[in-house]
C-alpha cells in the first residue's frame, strides 16, 4: 500500500538555527500520526512545509506517490491537505457561515454553504449553527468552525496543531470521536500535541523530533507516556512533588468582584469571591473565554475597581494600578506572552525592566535606568529558567513561545512575590519545561507565597493545586480541596452543560465516564 504522504530528507535552516535537519517520515492512508517534540523541536516548521507555508531548503515530499512541493497553502489545499491551526483565524463579528466562506477559494452561496455546514458538522458529531456569531462561541466551538472549514474541502490529510489545548475533557472526547470517524473513512491525520496520554489513546504511529532531527518513530500505544517523554526530552522527566505544607495567613481576599467587560466579546466577571493563603496554590480551571483574562487583569491591576473588592493582606488594593500592587508584592503573568506579558520588538533586557524595574531596583533615583543591573537580571532569568536564546539582547519575538513563557514566568518568580497570579503558565510549553515551571510554582508556594494558577489544563491543575475552583461564564465556583476531587465533580464545577451539546445529565455522565476511562 502506498503511503499517503512521505517525507524524505527535509531540511530547513533559518539564520542561526536548523529547524529541520534531514527529517523523514511517512503516513499511511487512514492513519492518525502523531508529531511529538519539545518547543523549538521543529514540529511547526515541518507541518508548515507540508502545508506550503514554508519551502524546504532540500529534501522532497510525495503525496500518493507523486512529487509534492506546494508553493503556497492554496495548492496544498487543492492537493487535499488541510490544516487546523493552534490559533484560530476567525472574525468574531461574522457568523460561522461567513467565516467558513471567507476561507474558501470558491464559496457557494451563503444558503447552500449553511446547509453544507449543517450537514457536515452533524455527520461528524460537531454540531454548529451556521448563523451564530463567532464572537459568541466558546473556544471548542470555534475550533469546530475551523475543522468544518477543513472538512468541507474533503481533505485526504488533516493537520491538527495542538487541538486539545483549549478544550474541556468532554470536548476532547467529542473531538476524538470525530477524528476516529474521519480515520475510518480513510482520511489521514497528522496530529501535533504535547499531551502524551492523548497521543497514546488516539494515534497509530508517532514521529518524535528533538532539535530538528527525528530521534524515533514508534507506535505510541506500545510505549508508556514516560518513555515517549524521555524520547522527546532526551532525559528522564521530573514530576513535580510537594508535601502539602502548613498554610499561613490569608494573603489575597477577593469579594464581590464584578467587572464590566473590556471589549465587546469579553466576559463579565460576576460577583467573584475567594481567598488564598500563604503557602497555598489555588487552581482555577475553566474553558478559555469564561473570564480568565478579565480575572487576571482585575488582580494584576490592569483594570481597577472599588478598593474593597481585592484585598492584599487585609489592605484594600482594588483601586491600585499594577505598579502599586507590584510594590506590595502582588505579581502576575498574563496568558498572552507576545504583546501582553512581553513587548515583541523589545530585547529581553528591556522586557526584564517591563515588570521588574521596581522590585529589582533597575532604576536609580530620578527614574534613570540601570542598564547593567537590568542586563544581569535578564541573564539571571535566562540561566535560572533555562531560556534558550543567543543572549539577553535578542528581541522577545525571536524566541519560541515556550522559551518566552519560561522567561516571563521566571521574571515574576525571581522577584520573590508574596502573591503570584499566572494564567496558562505552561500553555504551548514542552513537557520538560512545563514540569520545571510547575515545580517552580510549587517551590514558590512552599517558600510561603500564595499562588493562583489559572489554567485550562486540568491535569496541570490537579498536579499543582491545593484547592480548585472553576470559572464558568464569569462565575467562580466555591473552591474545594483538590485532593480527592473526581473527574465528575470537576466536570460539574466546570459547568458541565455549558456549551455542550448534551441536554440530559445522563449523557453528560456518560461522557465524563468515558473520559475517565481514557485517563485513569
Amino acid at each position: 500500500m502506498t503511503d499517503l504522504l512521505s517525507v524524505q530528507g527535509l531540511t530547513k535552516a533559518y539564520p542561526g538555527v536548523v529547524a529541520n535537519d534531514d527529517v523523514s517520515f511517512s503516513i499511511a492512508p487512514g492513519e492518525i500520526h502523531a508529531l511529538l517534540g519539545e518547543n523549538g523541536a521543529g514540529k511547526s516548521t515541518l507541518v508548515k512545509m507540508v502545508y506550503g507555508l514554508v519551502k524546504p531548503d532540500t529534501g522532497k515530499m510525495e503525496l500518493f506517490g507523486k512529487p509534492f512541493a506546494p508553493p503556497e497553502p492554496r495548492s496544498a489545499r487543492a492537493a487535499g491537505v488541510a490544516m487546523v491551526f493552534q490559533h484560530f483565524s476567525l472574525f468574531e463579528a461574522l457568523t460561522v457561515a461567513e467565516n467558513v466562506g471567507l476561507g474558501m477559494e470558491n464559496p457557494p452561496p451563503l444558503g447552500q454553504l449553511s446547509r453544507e455546514i449543517r450537514e457536515v458538522s452533524h455527520a461528524y458529531g460537531l454540531p454548529l449553527d451556521p448563523r451564530r456569531l463567532v464572537g459568541d462561541l466558546s473556544a471548542g466551538e470555534r475550533q469546530r468552525v475551523e475543522i468544518v472549514r477543513c472538512l468541507l474541502q474533503d481533505p485526504k490529510l488533516l493537520i491538527m496543531d495542538e487541538p486539545t489545548s483549549v478544550l474541556t475533557p468532554q470536548e476532547v472526547e467529542i473531538l476524538f470521536a470525530t477524528l476516529n470517524k474521519l480515520k475510518a473513512e480513510g482520511t489521514s491525520i497528522l496530529y501535533i500535541s504535547h499531551k502524551l496520554e492523548e497521543i497514546r489513546a488516539l494515534c497509530d504511529g508517532a514521529t518524535i523530533l528533538r532539535r530538528g532531527k527525528v530521534v524515533a518513530s514508534c507506535d505510541p500505544r506500545e510505549n508508556s507516556a514516560a518513555e515517549l517523554a524521555e524520547l522527546m526530552v532526551g532525559e528522564a522527566l521530573q514530576v513535580p512533588d510537594r508535601a502539602p505544607g502548613e498554610t499561613g495567613k490569608v494573603v489575597l481576599t477577593v469579594a464581590g468582584l464584578t467587572s464590566e467587560h473590556v471589549d465587546t466579546f469579553g466576559t463579565k466577571l460576576q460577583n467573584i469571591g475567594f481567598e488564598v493563603r500563604a503557602g497555598e496554590v489555588l487552581g482555577i480551571g475553566g474553558v478559555a473565554g469564561n473570564g480568565q483574562d478579565e480575572l487576571l487583569s482585575a488582580l494584576s491591576g490592569e483594570t481597577i475597581g472599588s478598593p474593597e473588592t481585592v484585598r492584599f493582606r487585609g489592605k484594600p488594593v482594588g483601586h491600585l494600578p499594577p505598579n502599586a500592587r507590584r510594590r506590595l508584592g502582588m505579581l502576575s503573568a498574563p496568558e498572552e506572552r507576545l504583546g501582553h506579558a512581553a513587548a515583541p520588538d523589545m530585547s529581553l533586557v528591556e522586557n526584564a525592566i517591563l515588570s521588574g524595574w521596581q522590585r529589582q531596583k533597575l532604576t536609580s533615583g530620578g527614574g534613570f535606568l540601570r542598564w547593567g543591573a537590568a542586563r544581569s537580571f535578564a541573564e539571571e532569568i535566562i540561566a535560572a529558567f533555562d531560556v534558550r536564546t543567543p543572549g539577553a539582547h535578542v528581541a522577545a519575538r525571536a524566541l519560541s513561545g515556550g522559551n518566552l513563557q519560561k522567561f516571563v514566568i521566571g521574571r515574576e518568580m525571581l522577584q520573590r512575590p508574596d502573591l503570584l497570579i499566572v494564567n496558562q503558565p505552561t500553555w504551548g510549553v514542552d513537557a520538560s519545561a512545563a514540569a520545571a515551571i510547575r515545580q517552580a510554582l510549587l517551590d514558590l508556594a512552599s517558600a510561603g507565597a500564595a499562588v493562583v494558577v489559572i489554567s485550562q489544563d486540568l491535569d496541570e491543575l490537579m498536579e499543582v493545586s491545593d484547592r480548585f475552583a472553576a470559572l464558568n461564564a464569569g462565575h467562580l465556583s466555591a473552591p474545594k480541596p483538590a485532593r480527592g476531587l473526581s473527574m465528575e465533580q470537576i466536570g460539574l464545577m466546570l459547568g458541565g452543560a455549558h456549551d455542550m451539546d448534551v441536554a440530559n445529565p445522563d449523557e453528560a455522565h456518560h461522557i465524563i465516564e468515558t473520559y475517565e476511562e481514557g485517563h485513569p
Binding site: 522532497k60 504583546g339 501582553h340 520588538d345 523589545m346 542598564w371
Partner: protein, 360 residues
Amino acid sequence: MIRLEKRPTPSRAWTYATPVLAVALTMLAGGLMFAALGKNPFLAIKTIFYDPILGEFAFYYRGQLLVKAGPLILIAVGLAMGFKAGIWNIGAEGQYIMGAIFGAAVGLAFYPAEHWYIFPLMVIAGAIGGLLWAMIPALLKVKFNTNEILVSLLLVYVAEQLLAAMALGALRNPDATGFPGSRNLQQYPAASNPEIWAGTGIHMGVVAALIAVIFAYILLSRHLMGFHIQLAGQSPKAARFGGVNPTALVVFCMGLSGALAGLAGMFEVTGPAGQIAISFNSGYGFTAIIVAFLGRLHPIGILLAGLLMALTYIGGEAAQATLQIPAAAIQAFQGMLLFFLLGVDVLSNYRIRLVKEGVA
C-alpha cells in the same frame, strides 16, 4: 524571483545604512529628472548639496542652514517623543504660532522697558503657549477619546486665524499707521533673539534645539519615562501590564511636543522673523513631521535629518535661482528623498533573498 524574509531582529547595520542609501538613490533619480528637464544633473546636484556648504557663497547659506534647521529640529524632537508612543500630534504648526503669540505678547507688554528678565519670561511664555494649545487635543483625547490627529490639525487653522487677529488687532504696532503686524522685536533689545555669533545663523533657538536633542536622547535611552514611551508605542497592552498610565503619557507627550513647538515659534518671532505678522508661519510645524520620520524618530537622526531638510530647501532655492530649475521639480526632488527613505526602510526589518523558481 525576489523574496522578502522578515528578520528575527531588525538589522542594526541597515538602520544606519538606509538613510545614506536613500540620499544616494535620490541623487540618482533626481539627476535623471533634472537631465530630462534639460539641465546638467551634476551641476544641479552640486548646487543643491555642495554649494550651500562649501561653495562660493557658502558664508551666506551656512547661516541660513542653521536658521532653518533650528526650528525644524526643535519641533521634530518633541513630535518624535509622541510618535514613538503612538500619540500623533499633527498640529505643531498651531502650537508654533501660539508660542510665538504668547512670547511676543509678553515682550510687547514690557515695551519699551529694558530688564534682563524680559527675554527669559518670553521663553517661558512661548513654551506655555504651545503647551496650552497642545493640551486641547490632549485633554479631549483623555476625557472623550477624541482623535488627537484631527483635533490638533484643525487647531492649526484656528491658530492661524488668531495670528491674523493679533497682527491686525491686539498686537499691532501702534506706531505703524495701520499696517498689520506687531512692532519689530529685533529693534527691541530686551525682547530680541539675535545671532549669538554674527553670520553663523546661531541664535538661542538653535542652541535650544541642540539641548532638546541631548535631552531627548537621554530621556529615550536612559530614563524610565523614555522606556515607557517606547513601550506604549510598540505594544499598548504590554504597556498597560507594565503599569504605564496612558492618560499621563498622552498629557506628557502632547505637552512636551507642544512646549517645544511653542519655543520654536517664540525664538523665530524674536529672531529671524522679528514680528507677529499674518504670514508669520511658514510650515515648519508640518515639515518637522517629515524631519521626525526622516530621522527615524531618533534624536541624533532628527538632528541630521533637520540639517539635510534645511539643505534641500536652501540648495533648492539656489538651484531655482541660478539654474532656473522649476520650483515643482525641486519639490519633486524633496519628495523623492522621503519616498526613498521610507522605501529602503524595509531593508532594516527584512532581508532580500533571490530565490530560484521550482526549488522544492
